[in-house]
Every structure is written in structure tokens, then in C-alpha cells.
Amino acid sequence: MNKKVFYILFLSSLLLASCDMFEMDNYDAPDATIKGAVVDDETGDSILTDQGSEGIRVRMLQLDYSDNAQHNPDFYCMPNGTFQNTKEFKGRYNVTVDGPFIPIVRENSSGIPIADGSQIVNLKGKGTTNVVFKVKPFLEVEFVGYPTVSNGIITAKVKVVRRVSRTEFQSLIEPMGGYDDSYPNITDIQLFVSYSSTVGYRARDERWSNHIDYSGSSFDDLLGTPVTITSAKGAAIPSGRHVFIRAAARINYDTPKGSGTRRWNYSKPMEVIIP
């Protein structure tokens, strides 16, 4: 009697078992690669940025799932304006970038699309997919001449020009609603100093980096002219060191709208030897 009860219990327990129990429950690691670049739509030059949440943000949304899917964790362009992610799952994605340029996805205040420069890509397993985003950067920032150094303080000349005029900016941004004339104002220029050649906002050395703030449209008179900016006064860079500097400037417009993150347009980095 007892034995039979055990048999019944044992046999029925087998019914509950599944063959999956004997397999490794694992999903293949993501192996699709996406490579991309964000370039100026006129010159084809890369949009220089900084790798961090104040730089050019790459956002990927996989479209193979329901409509309320969440985007992948954001990642950011490298300082030279290109990006690469070798650990994406294969699938169909919408890719969009936000940075110091006219937003590529623009909607009016009731959510109706005006322009959509985002791209749909099919990522294949073990494959590499290339994308290029052509954008209109707000500003172009460059050093004029070679910086001078005295007593451990760097003095550099920075030139900022608009790549999108005020009128063009207004014609593109105003249809999105809530436009304000203060948006195209240039609010600050920055001089980032670091021991690292990937210098930028994130990799700056706070002891030496410096910035000049401008109120209202006061910078407009300085457009296209060399502006002198020094590394932070009072904190001398030790002599004999090599540091890297970059200049950056931004307008009073956050991308994407409402994020409060106003992203800088950057110059190329420059190495400075402190005598």
C-alpha cells in the first residue's frame, strides 16, 4: 500500500518536471555592433563633444517589442563626435542623438512631428552597422594661435562663430512652441584644463579650468573675434607638466527640450607644456 502511494507521488512528480530543467537557462550575450558619427551637414566635419551626460547623447529604442518599450541605457559620443557600441542585442532600433545642434527630432507643442532625423537600423548578430547623422551645430569654437603660459597660468584666445544664425535658429525652433528670444544667446565660454588628452567638462581639473559667463545677448559683439580666457587665477599649474586644454561655448537652449542640459560645442584639444 505504502509503496504504491510513493509510486503515484513519484510518477506524478515526474509529470511536473520539464526538459528545460536540464538545459542551461542562458541568453546569448549581445554581439551586434553599431558605429556612428555625428557630422556637420555642410562641412562634413565631426561635431566635437565630451563623453559624459553633457555631451552628445545616443539613445536607442528597440522596436521589436510593444509600444511602451523603454529605450536602452543612453550612451555618449566620444570626444571626436563618433560613437560605437559593440554590445547591442540584434534587432530593429530607432536611433537618435541629442547634442549642441538643432534637434533632429522636432515636434510642435501638441506632439505632432515637424521633422524627424532619427534613423531606423537593423542590427545583425556579430555584424557592424554604420550610421551617420547630419546635423546643424549651434556654434563653432576654435583656439586662435597658440596659448601663452606665465607663472603657471594659461592664457588662450578663443573664437566663437555661429553656425546657425539667429533667424535660422528661430525658424527651426519656434514651431516647437514656447519660443523665447533668449534661446540663441551665448551664455558662457569655458576653458577646460586637464592632464588627460580626453579633456572636456567631465575630465576637467577643477583647480585650473575656468569660464566666463555672459548675460543676455552681450556676447554677440564678440562673435568671430578672439576672446581671451585664462586658466583659473590663483591656482598655478606646476611647471614641467604637460596639460591639455579645450575651449567650449554654448547657447541658452537645452537639448532635448526641457532637460535643462545645455550642451557645449567644443574646440579641438591642444597640448600645452608648462615651462
Binding site: K4, V5, T187, W208, G258, S259, G260, R262
Partner: protein
């Protein structure tokens, strides 16, 4: 085989046809809970236990965990205090988001509202209304706690049956405007229904609801107005629903902010006009700083204080917390100490200190803290002899008394010649990382500056000319390598139990937390009055707005022993800042300031000039999105036999805070967004 058949036959007999519809005896039913007062006590006790009240059991960095582990107040990048740990960071998120537990609380409040009418006959009319009022008050409090974190939230105002079709279960986020309107209407219903005094300790009453309504509406009015000052304007539409889940529409914000400020003003005025409450003045005496100081220490411990409106009570040994265990001076360490070290920037809000031309506290006889020689004092307390009594009640000064002991705070001992030139040529933000142990006076031999890495045997010993010795640092630090010592030269006094016989330990403290006091109501009234005046709104009750604001500020200042205003507050941003600054001073270390600077929108770089309630140049303490605070470090000069102070950025456990515009609205928990077709993430994230 036969046996098996018998077995199965027996088995078949055990099947019964009776319906299992008997109420389980181990489950308490609504009928039992809602049908009499003792049941209602149990029901409400649970609701009130899970109220989003920020007291001794709330740490901003962690959110509502309802435990008191490591509790320190004012350490979330507000400038009030500093702490050594990672919990000392700007208020940009809570690790336990106030989301799912909020909906549980809402469900229980809604259940009460829907089911209590069935038992109306069991209660007197007043009691029945009061219970409904409690439910509305709880709901208002929950929506208010959510709104100031997230903006627009799902307005769940009825019990949702579960299981049900998923469409009935999902409630999308409402607009921020609708959310604040719901907060307003729930508070109004509570005010209408609640009794003027709480039927039981811990229950709400009409004036508690009015006082919190004024606080909530001040928040709403400020957000509507000051979102407009943020670059790019802070508002946005949810991706899934198209609802304006954060901020206010361009054509709505102005009218809304006027409406909310008016509500804040009226609610505060009703509390004031009731005449029930007043500022605590029991030990106060005019022109007696000692009495005024004692008065403001005692006010947090006197249960009969006429200033208390809402109090979260603790009782030893059943309901306790560990505030004293984490925040007492180093010599009382058990198991931790010095969790709240007030900053010099905070001290600079107060009267009674010599200043340089730029408004910073004077420590040398030159024109700034890099020029001239250090001012010398016979005792460290001499530096504070004219300090506002309120500050002394909130902060332990070096050399002052606490729990019957002198609190020795000394960064180091200087044996060099006098007069002494400032240690540094540069005290700017960029040199904040330089610390005293890097000074040549300390590193070279023979050295003239003695510092200690820690207490006890780690103390460096200074040999004095008369043959005696002394330790380099004070008993309470600051020790340059021990974050459990005093970090800034100052220590918190507010709410620390001053009774010398009180035992310090985790779970040993039982002082009550005052959630709402009359002082705040006065300041709510004053701030909304100035905001109404700035917006050009005529006084809702015909009284002169600015005169009332001035009187309220002067009442607070008189009690605090501060300098009184001699003229009426002007209807300008500078006038508004007088009220803001008073609020930042009076309500410091009471879990309020982090919300005030959030609603003023003064934490991001562009708006940071207004961070202190008054205007200060943000570049003095910040660099783009990062910012830091300073300490006031006491040193002893053996040659002079006197004390001097150095004003330097936090020299022990330096904290750098970071705040961006994004942080004015917390992210909705990601799992809630991804599992729902309706719940929107913040549009700017």
C-alpha cells in the same frame, strides 16, 4: 490492487459539496475595523505609521524606509550641514522612490472614504466627519509628497478592484497642474471635516491640515512661477499620454501661481487668526541673549509648547530613534558621531559676526581672508560673543557647553611667531582640495603647525615652552583623517538631547519631531504675501501684505534675538529675499530647506546666486554644476596663548555636490514606466 481501489474510494468520500464561504477567522474584515472606534484606531494607526512624514526616520538619500539608521538632517547639499558619508549628497533622487508605497497608502485612504459611510450610524456626526477628514488629509499629504517629487502623478482617488481588466487598473499620470489642484481640494475637504483639535495624539486636525496646506500651496505657487526662471523653461509633455506631466502651460503658469499663493496666504492666515498657537517664548527675556538662546533650545523639547502644530511623537523604549547616536560630538560617540557639521556659509546667514566688505565672515585684520594677520581671541567663544542667540541654539560653537561638558574643537596648534599671516594665498573654489596637512608649516622640519590624523594615541603632541604638553587637535577634532570627528569646526545642537543624564545610543533617543510649527506658518504667510505683492494681486483679506510680512519676520527675529527690520519689506526680489533668508535660518535642520531651495529653483548653476535665500556670487563656491561648502577652523597659537580662525573649504572629507536642472523632478521608477502603457517617464529624461 484491491487496496488501491479502496484507497481511491476512500479518497472520493473526502470530497464535500459545502461551499467554502466561511469568513476565515484569521483575517480581519472591514466590518470589524470600520464599525467602531477601537477598530478605526487600528486602521488609522497603520495609515499614520506610513505617512510620508520626514522626521528622525527619514534620510533624503534613501527615501522613506521608516527606520532611523544614520539619520542626519540638512546634509543633502543644502549647505546647512555636512557629513562624512555618501549619504551627504545633493537631493537628486531617493534610493527607495516614493511611488508604490504611496499607492498602498492611497488605496487604504480611498477604502476608508468609500466604506465608512456604511457605518455612519455607529459614530457621532462629529466623529464620522473627522474620520473622513483624516482620510482626505492623508490623501492630500500623499499627493503633496508625490507632487513635489515627481510633478504630475496618477490621481488615484478611488479603490481599484483587483483583479480587473487591465484598462481599469491603469491610471496615467495627470498634469502637474491637476495634481496640485487635487492636493488643494483634498486639503480643503479635510479642513472642512476635521475637528479643531485632534481626537487622539497623532491624528490630524483642522489646523494641521491648514498649516500643511499653506506649505503645499507655497510649493505649488513657487514651482509655477520659478520654473519660468530656469533656462529653456521647465515644462514638458509625456510621451505616451501627451499630458503636461511637469511644469505649467505658458498661458497658465501665471494665473496658477497667483491662485496657489493666495491659497497659501489664506490658509496660513486662518491658523494665525485662530489665536490657538504662538511662538515659544517661555524662557525668553528681552535683551538677554542667554535666555533667548536657552528658549530656542528648550522649544524643541517642551511638549506643551504653544508653537507645536503637528508632532511626531516617540516613546522610550517602544518607539525610538537614533538622532543623538549619530550626531553628537565626538566625545559622546556611540556608535557614531558628528553626522551634522554646520557650514561656515550657513553661519554667514546670521547676525553678530565681523565681516569683510564682500559679506563673508572676517578672520583677519586685512581687507579679505588672504590679507593682513589673523584676528586673535583669548577663547574661541569670544569670536561668537555677539552671535545671534538662535544660531547658538542651533549650532555648538567651539568651546561652548553641551551635556555639561566643554566642547573642545581645534583643527590644529600653531607654534610659529605672531602676528600670523593667513595660511593660504588663495581660498577660492579651485583651491578647495588643498588641506592643512599639505601646508609647509606642517610638512617641513622644524614644523610650526601641528595637526592630528585621529584621536587618542594618534594625536600629535605639542611641547610648550613651560614644559607642559598639549594635543594638536581638540577632543572633538577636526582630525584630518577621521571623518567621525567635527568636519567644519562647528557641530549641530538643534534637537540633540541636552540632558546630561540622557543615554546616547541607537534606538535610545525618544525626543519628538516637530513636523509643523507656528514659526513656519508665519513664514509661509510672509512669503506668500510678498509673492502676491510682487505679482500685483490685491490682498485677499484687505490687510497690508507687506506690513504683515514685515511683522511676521520681526516676530521670528525678536524671538531669535536677531536684528529687527526697521522698515517695511519692499515689494521687490530683494524684499522677497528677506523672507527667504529668514526661512532658511529659522527652519534649518528641520527637513524643510531642501524643499525650499528646490521650489525656489536656485540649485542649478544659472540660478545658484539665490541659493542662500539672499544673493551671493555663486562663483565663490561653485564651478558649473558642482559646488562645495566651507568650514570655520579654530587654531591655537602657543606663542600668543590665543585662538584664531581660518575660513577654508571643508578640510576633512571634502564633499562636492552636483545639481542639474533635470533634478528638479525625480525620475519615475523605470520599472513602473516599462511595465505600463500609460505611465510616462519625465519628458526631459
Amino acid at each position: 490492487m484491491k487496496k488501491l481501489i479502496i484507497f481511491l474510494a476512500v479518497l472520493s468520500l473526502t470530497v464535500s459539496c459545502a461551499d467554502l464561504d466561511v469568513a476565515p477567522k484569521n483575517v480581519v474584515t472591514a466590518d470589524q475595523l470600520l464599525s467602531d472606534e477601537s477598530g478605526m484606531d487600528i486602521y488609522l494607526a497603520r495609515l499614520y505609521s506610513y505617512m510620508p512624514y520626514e522626521d528622525f526616520k527619514y534620510l533624503p538619500q534613501w527615501g522613506f524606509n521608516f527606520n532611523g539608521w544614520l539619520v542626519s538632517i540638512g546634509i543633502s547639499g543644502t549647505g546647512e550641514c555636512l557629513d562624512r558619508d555618501g549619504i551627504c549628497a545633493a537631493f537628486t533622487s531617493e534610493s527607495t522612490p516614493y511611488w508604490s508605497m504611496a499607492f498602498r497608502e492611497l488605496r487604504e485612504a480611498n477604502f476608508l472614504l468609500e466604506n465608512l459611510p456604511k457605518y455612519k450610524s455607529h459614530y457621532s456626526e462629529a466623529m464620522y466627519n473627522d474620520y473622513l477628514g483624516e482620510a482626505y488629509y492623508i490623501r492630500a499629504t500623499v499627493f503633496y509628497a508625490m507632487a513635489r517629487r515627481f510633478g504630475g502623478v496618477p490621481l488615484v482617488t478611488k479603490v481599484i478592484d483587483y483583479p480587473d481588466k487591465s484598462d481599469n487598473l491603469e491610471v496615467p499620470r495627470s498634469s502637474e497642474e491637476d495634481t496640485w489642484n487635487q492636493v488643494l481640494s483634498d486639503y480643503d475637504k479635510a479642513i472642512e471635516l476635521l475637528e479643531p483639535t485632534s481626537p487622539k495624539d497623532g491624528y490630524a486636525n483642522k489646523y494641521i491640515a491648514l498649516a500643511f496646506k499653506s506649505e503645499a500651496m507655497l510649493y505649488a505657487g513657487s514651482v509655477a512661477k520659478y520654473n519660468q526662471t530656469v533656462p529653456g523653461y521647465l515644462t514638458g509633455i509625456g510621451q505616451k499620454t501627451g499630458v503636461r506631466v511637469i511644469g505649467f502651460a505658458p498661458d497658465k503658469w501665471e494665473a496658477d501661481s497667483k491662485k496657489y499663493f493666495t491659497e497659501a496666504y489664506n490658509a496660513a492666515k486662518e491658523v494665525i487668526n485662530s489665536g490657538i498657537y504662538s511662538l515659544y517664548m517661555k524662557d525668553w527675556a528681552p535683551n538677554d541673549p542667554e535666555a533667548q538662546y536657552k528658549n530656542m533650545v528648550d522649544m524643541f523639547f517642551d511638549d506643551s509648547s504653544p508653537e507645536n502644530i503637528a508632532v511626531k511623537k516617540y516613546i522610550y523604549p517602544t518607539s525610538t530613534h537614533g538622532y543623538d547616536a549619530y550626531n553628537s560630538p565626538f566625545i559622546f560617540r556611540s556608535p557614531l558621531s558628528s553626522g551634522m557639521c554646520p557650514t561656515l556659509d550657513f553661519l554667514e546667514l546670521f547676525d553678530g559676526f565681523p565681516r569683510y566688505a564682500d559679506g563673508t565672515v572676517r578672520v583677519t585684520d586685512g581687507t579679505s581672508n588672504t590679507t593682513g594677520h589673523y584676528l586673535m581671541y583669548d577663547s574661541p567663544l569670544d569670536f561668537f560673543k555677539n552671535a545671534e542667540p538662535r544660531l547658538r541654539a542651533y549650532v555648538i560653537f567651539p568651546g561652548d557647553q553641551f551635556k555639561g561638558k566643554t566642547i573642545e574643537i581645534r583643527m590644529g596648534t600653531y607654534t610659529g611667531d605672531v602676528p600670523i599671516k593667513p595660511f593660504w594665498s588663495d581660498y577660492s573654489y579651485n583651491s578647495a582640495e588643498k588641506t592643512y596637512q599639505q601646508l609647509p608649516e606642517y610638512t617641513q622640519t622644524p614644523k610650526t603647525l601641528y595637526l592630528s590624523p585621529s584621536n587618542g594615541s594618534s594625536q600629535e603632541i605639542v611641547h610648550l615652552d613651560n614644559g607642559t604638553t598639549m594635543t594638536a587637535s581638540g577632543e572633538n577634532g577636526p582630525f584630518y583623517a577621521n571623518g567621525e570627528s567635527c568636519l567644519t569646526g562647528l557641530l549641530v545642537r538643534k534637537y540633540l538631547n541636552p540632558d546630561p543624564s540622557a543615554v546616547i545610543g541607537e534606538g535610545k533617543s525618544s525626543q519628538h519631531f516637530i513636523l509643523m510649527r507656528y514659526g513656519e506658518v508665519l513664514l509661509n504667510m510672509a512669503e506668500s504675501a510678498v509673492e502676491l505683492s510682487l505679482a500685483g494681486v490685491p490682498s485677499p483679506d484687505g490687510k497690508d501684505l507687506l506690513q504683515q510680512a514685515t511683522d511676521a519676520v520681526n516676530q521670528i527675529r525678536q524671538r531669535a534675538g536677531a536684528t529687527l527690520l526697521t522698515s517695511t519689506i519692499p515689494s521687490t526680489d530683494a524684499g522677497r529675499d528677506i523672507v527667504r533668508k529668514e526661512r532658511r535660518k529659522e527652519l534649518a535642520m528641520e527637513q524643510k530647506t531642501k524643499w525650499d531651495i528646490r521650489r525656489w529653483r536656485v540649485q542649478h548653476y544659472e540660478g545658484r546666486d539665490g541659493f542662500w535665500g539672499e544673493q551671493r556670487d555663486k562663483n565663490a563656491y561653485s564651478n558649473n554644476s558642482n559646488y562645495r561648502f566651507r568650514g570655520l577652523y579654530p587654531f591655537y597659537s602657543t606663542k600668543a596663548g590665543k585662538w584664531f580662525f581660518d575660513a577654508h573649504f571643508q578640510a576633512v572629507s571634502l564633499k562636492t555636490f552636483n545639481y542639474n536642472i533635470l533634478d528638479y523632478y525625480f525620475a519615475i521608477p523605470d520599472n513602473e514606466v516599462s511595465k505600463s502603457k500609460y505611465i510616462d517617464q519625465q519628458p526631459n529624461r
